[in-house]
Symmetry: C2
Subunit: 435 residues, 2 copies
């Protein structure tokens, strides 16, 4: 190690569940961490909103301050850990910390998905690290593997279960046959879902992570607005049942992919529920666990699995980043930054290739199937499997298509809905992870 | 990036399957790699055993040399990639490369498990990187996650399926009911096993990886001799069947663990077949895939999964290391080396805590069970489940113990074998990954 013995000064912004765990371990494991860094880590300040909040933390009271803005401007900090969350003031605090010479460790996916390009530029300009392992999939090491381990490979696709709340809800719907509302209530009761579950169940949290994953995998910048996002609120018990009947399970997937188009490579990122075959490694990711499945040219298929949230798991990721940033500060270097050299086009959702699973309620009379099949053919969509269930004077068609452009599939559904023989297209869901 | 534009000179030792793939990608992906490094990578030499071997590789003929010893001593190399394999001359070549100023990337687990301490010391002295992501579990990023991502956490246990050949064989025995010999022959026919399969089926390959994993996880040095090693040659179709009956599957596991003993922490590493419950994530690792399951204090349970061998996957890991080493060379720094600061005791296999699954053929008469139960009790081994199957005048007992020290379990088995009422202890296998 080209390290020296100067203590490295660490400041913490935020002292909630994650911040408390980070502070506790920085203090308790000081000797171990010093050996791993090559120099001691010294916790010199903790910015909190309210100084009067009682805290279960054995650190000197004078470390606490309610003036985060002043703390990050001390000028003698080596590392600032941002676990406040939210967009502002977190963004301004990180910019100020970098400008004043500190490397920054953050768990703030929403902020990075919003202002990532600007923040990484600030880090680059300041010649400091801006690390965010904890921002994607909690404790699962995914930033370093994508950015460093696979730096000599070409990633083609990343499929992630990156939101534990929605995975827990879908898991309950699958194993217990609960409705979405029942499973959500249960998740809230157990603390897996917040009182206002919007960010999770509408897919916004997963979409922010998808933007970050796509940026890492394809060396480009995406923001939340670049990610096509559908949540799980409209996933019905019927759809979950239908998935089970075809040997699949419904998961909320964050999908990042690079596709060669006639106009050159394009990168797409999307979040939506999808039916995943049980044979796919992602299908067995249960409860509040997360997993990121990577398809790359040379390495083939990799999967990273672990707890996606929680104070201790998130603290583990934050502390790993602190150790790396501290090693770099001790040697006065900084690690590989954002590699946004690839100026690729954005792939709209309509151009993504996927399969649809459809449940169509139709009149049970001769010729209906021919009419429907014709509409699929008109859009160049090929049917992979079709099952017909009679329901008295009605019939139900359960169709899985072959892979096609999402725009063609969506247009087919639109036309089907308007057909006289179609009473309802009662379920539409993409199918991913198949062969 | 604190990089400059000087090309970074790379030499390759060995041009077999992996070496060819590395050379091909260094050439084909030169632009991409240059952007990721911040400077171009220039392949300046390839050492091969025989210059006359025809090669499917589009590089200038003058790059090839059969004098590896001279190549590594050129003095102008930034990175030497060792994919020759074997102990010597690989070890001497790596030492010479480091002494002459190059960072080294190697896939050579056998060498590192033999001379790791010496080689890492040489790297440290030379202030160069010695990277080995490809040495453990092929393309799966595991070195960086253990060494960097989890650097702020405390790892308790690592369970790995790190040998694709044996996993393929056990998988065939499980799914097709084949015997070991049948499955081995099939694996050889398909190229998953070598003509001389000793290193794989006797567990030596896995044991070398276990030594490396234990070193990374517990910041210490282990050699092959420190690893308790049992292969899969004595795994019977009956044992596989018996595992299935209790909802488990037989896997060859590499287990590294740190245990608190009255004399302080001790680190153990062992490789042996074990029954793993189907509910454990490792149970679903099929065919020639590898996976490493990590239990750590803060992060909880993580798993890393992917192809464990093969030219392209191994090349992916090698190239990732090349990019990292090149970034460091460009900035004239070196990454975190071996952290062997923890001088821990070695945990002998007898002190490891495990469960046994036993099949015992006994006389079917009154009092036998009491005699046997007494022997378990004598060694403080508690029985978790017991099933009795009648076989005419004989009976068969299938026993799974609670967790106990391996020495106590082994001693119990030894005594059982000598009992008059026991005709045979026909199967003994450890059970891991249970609750």
């Amino acid at each position: 190690m080209n390290a020296h013995d100067r203590p490295l000064r660490v400041a913490l912004l935020g002292c909630g569940v994650v911040g408390t765990e980070v502070a506790r371990r920085l203090t308790r494991d000081a000797d171990e961490l010093a050996q791993r860094v090559g120099a001691p880590l010294e916790l010199v300040g903790i910015a909190v909103r309210n100084l009067d909040t009682p805290r279960d933390l054995d650190v000197p009271a004078e470390l606490f301050t309610d003036d985060a803005a002043a703390l990050v401007r001390r000028g003698d900090l080596d590392i600032v850990v941002e676990v406040v969350g939210g967009i502002e003031p977190a963004g301004d605090l990180i910019r100020a910390a970098l400008e004043h010479g500190a490397s920054v460790v953050t768990a703030n996916k929403a902020l990075l998905a919003d202002q990532g390009a600007d923040l990484f530029e600030a880090a680059d300009k300041a010649q400091r690290d801006l690390s965010f392992e904890a921002a994607i999939a909690g404790a699962i090491p995914i930033v370093r593997p994508l950015r460093e381990s696979l730096a000599g490979d070409r990633i083609r696709r990343v499929l992630g279960i990156v939101n534990g709340t929605t995975n827990y809800i879908l898991d309950q719907m699958t194993t217990l046959g609960q409705t979405f509302d029942e499973a959500l209530a249960e998740a809230q009761r157990l603390g897996y879902a917040e009182a206002d579950p919007t960010a999770d169940v509408e897919g916004h949290d997963a979409a922010a992570k998808a933007a970050l994953l796509a940026g890492l995998a394809f060396h480009t910048h995406l923001t939340l607005d670049d990610v096509h996002c559908e949540g799980i609120t409209s996933v019905t018990a019927d759809a979950v049942q239908s998935a089970a009947e075809m040997g699949s399970v419904v998961k909320l997937l964050a999908i990042c992919e690079q596709i060669d188009t006639p106009d050159g490579p394009a990168v797409g990122a999307r979040v939506h529920p999808a039916m995943v075959p049980l044979s796919h490694p992602l299908a067995s990711v249960r409860g509040a666990y997360n997993a990121v499945f990577v398809e790359s040219e040379a390495a083939g298929e990799l999967m990273f699995y672990g707890p996606g949230a929680g104070g201790a798991p998130t603290a583990s990721a934050v502390l790993g980043d602190i150790v790396s940033a501290a090693r770099n500060r001790a040697s006065d270097v900084f690690g590989p930054g954002e590699t946004s050299h690839a100026d690729v086009r954005l792939l709209p959702i309509g151009s993504a290739h996927t399969q649809y699973h459809l449940v169509i309620e139709v009149d049970d009379r001769a010729g209906v199937l021919a009419i429907i099949a014709q509409e699929f053919a008109r859009f160049g969509v090929s049917i992979k499997t079709l099952r017909q269930e009679g329901l008295g004077s009605d019939a139900r068609l359960i169709i899985v298509t072959h892979e096609a452009e999402d725009a063609s599939l969506a247009a087919t559904v639109e036309i089907l809905r308007g057909l006289e023989v179609v009473r309802d297209v009662s379920s539409v869901m993409r199918v991913e992870g198949g062969s």
